[in-house]
Amino acid sequence: MAGNPSVVHLGHSALVLGAGRRQLVITSDAFGLVPGGMQVRPPEFARLRRDLARRDPARGAAIHGWRPAVVEPADLRVTAIDIDSAALDLLERATTAPGAIGAFDPSRQRAEASALARAARDGADVADTLLRLIGAGPGSTPAGDDVVAGVLAGLRAAGLSEAAAELGARVLPLLGRTTAASTHYLEAAATGRFADRVHALVAGLRSARSAPAAIRAAATFGASSGTDLLAGIVAGARITPAIRKSA
C-alpha cells in the first residue's frame, strides 16, 4: 500500500487500514480472509492490533517494521456448484430472521434481492434497484450492500457468471454511494471475489445437510449482515434452471 495508511477501523477480528479509497483488511482466523486482505494467526493479530492502538492517530498506521511470517495468495472466486432445492428452501426460510436497527429494518433491502437477480439474469435495467440498495440500511457495511454482494455470489454459484459480471459492472460506478469500509468488499464482489464468510454461506446451497451450518454461520455475522448476504445468495441461486431436486 503506497503512502502512510490511516487506521480506518480497529476491530477485534479485523483491522482496516486505508489510503484514499484503497484498503487493506487484516483479519484473524475468527473472521476469515477478505479479498485483497491478509489473514494472520491470532497471536500475530493481537500484537499488531496492540501496536496500532498505541500509535498516535495523527501519524497514521506506519507498519514498516512488520514482516508477515508467510504470505500465501488465496483464490476467493465463487464458481458454479450443484445447487440443491431443499437446501435453497432451508436457506430461504432463514432469511426471514428479523434484524431491525431502530427505525431501519434490513428486510426492506432483502425484499429487493429477487427482483435484482431476475433483472440481472434477463439483462434488464438494474439502475434504480442498485440506487435503492447500495449504501442503504443499517450497519457500517449497509444491509443493501450485503444483499447486492449476496446476489453477485448467488449468480456465480448458479453458473450465471456473465450475468454476475454485467451486474458487477453496474455496481462499480456506484461505490461512492456507500461507506469506505463497504466499498472495498463490494468492489471485490463486483469483480467476482468474495470473503471467506461468503464462501461459507454459498457452501450451504449444496445439500440440505450442509444448509444448517451455513444458517448458523450467517447468524454470527454482525447484527444482520449474514442474513442479508444469505438473502442475496438465495435470490441469485434460485433463478438458475439447473437446481437439483433433493433425493
Binding site: P42, A53, F104, R216
Partner: protein, 492 residues
Amino acid sequence: MTSLNSRVFPRLYRDSVALMAIASSTEARDGVDRVGAVMATPANIAILDESAMLPTGLTAAPDDLVIVVRGDTDEIVAEALDAAEAALTSVESARRNEDRPAATIGEGIQAMAAEDSDRPATMAAISIPGTYAAVVAERALRDGLHVFCFSDNVPVEDEIRVKGLARERRLLHMGPDCGTAIIDGVPLGFANVVRRGTVGIVAASGTGAQEVSRLLDLAGAGISQLIGVGGRDLSAEVDGLMTDLALDLLEDDADTGVIAIVSKPPAGPVADRLLARLAAIAQKGTPTIACFLGAEDTDGEVTVRGTLEGGAIAAAAAAGHPLQVDAASGLPTTAPPGRVLGLYTGGTLASEAKLLLKRGGVTDAEVLDLGDDEYTAGKPHPMIDPEARATRIAAAGSDAGVGILLLDLVIGYGASPDPATPVVEAIGAARAAAAADGRELLVIGSVCGTPADPQGLDRQRGLLEGAGVVLTPTNAAAARLAATLHTTGARA
C-alpha cells in the same frame, strides 16, 4: 407535534451489533418515538426522508455516522441524543482500554495472548444456545483449545463431527450438555469442592459424577481429574468418541492411580468395547471401575457396579481409602400410607432412586427429574433456581395419594446459594396441608455436597433436619429406606 433532531459523527465506524444496541436503548427512553442510527449514505438519507425522519439541513457524507431521534419534545430528543453519544463514546472507550469482554473465541484467545503471552488460553467453556454451540466449539478446537460445552440441544451429528475433530487433535470436547468437570483442580459447571486425589473419573452423567466424587471426598480418597463427556457419548451413534480419549489421557496422567467411568447404561456394543478397554488398562496395573447405573454388580478385572454408591465404594477401596457409609441412627420404622413421590433436581440421582425403588419392590413410585427439558423449557435448572421444585413439594401435601416424599439436594459451585431454605419452607406448607386433611407426610433425602462447598454442608443439612427431613448418607440409602418403609412399614 413532535420534535426531530440529529447528530453527526464524522468518519465514525461502529459495528452493527453496537449500533443496534445503542438504537434500541435510545428508542426505549420515555418520550422517544423513533431512532435511526445509520451511515449517512445517499440511500439512507433517502430512507430517512421517506420516513419523515430527515431533519432540515442535515449535512453528512457516506462515512459519517448519523443518529436521528424523533420524540415528544426538544428536551427529550436532546437528552436522547446525549445518551446515544455517551453510549458511542463508552463503546470507543471500552475498546481503547481493551476491557470489553471477549465476545468470540478468537477475541478471547487474542485478549489472553495480549495480556500474557506466556500463559495462553487452553480451554473454552461454551454455554450458548445449542444451535450455535458446535460452530463455536469447532472454532475453539481449531485454535487448539479443549472445550467444555454446557450447551444442550446440540444435534447429534454436530456432536459426532466436533468430537471427531477433537479426537484427531487430541483435545477434549466435554459435552455437549456437560454438567460437570474438574480439570487440574478447577471446577467447571456444577461441581463440588472435592479434595485432590488419585481417582480419575470419566463421566457421562452430571449429578452421577458429583455423587461419586463427593463420596470419594468423604472417604478421604479425592480425585485427580473428573472429565465429563456428555450424556450421549456412550450411545451407539457417538460410540464413546470422547470417553476413549479421556481414558487415554487418564492412563498417561501420573497423578491418576484408579480409573472410574460413571454413566447410565451404555449402548450394548459400546459397553462391551469399553469393558474390554478397561480390562486392558487393569491388566497394566491401574484398577478400573465401571459404574453403569442398573448394571449387575460383578468383580473381575473390571469392577462393575450398578449404583453410584456402589461405584464410589469400589473406587474408594481401590484408592486405599475404604468408604464407610454409616447407617443413620434413629431412622423411622414406619411411614404414612401412600405412594413414594420423588422430586429430584439431579437427573442421574433420580435414575438411581427409580432403580432402587424398583429393586425394592415398589411398583407405584413416581420419580420426577425436574431438571429434564420437559420441566425446564424457558426456565433455569432447578439446581440453580429451587423455586419450581418448592412449588411441587408444597403441592404434594394436598395429594392424598402421597405418603413419602423423596428428595435430593445438590450443593457446590453452580448450584443455588441456599437451596435448602425454599425446600424447608415448602415442606412446612406441604405438611400443614396434609395435617389439615388428617394425614402425615414423611420426607426422606440426602445432600450431595462436601464440607468445603460454598453453601456449607452442615448448614444445609441442619436446615433440612430442622424441618424433620430424614437424611441418609447417600442417595441410594435414601431410596432404599423409602422402599423398605413403603413395602413393610406403611401404617394402616
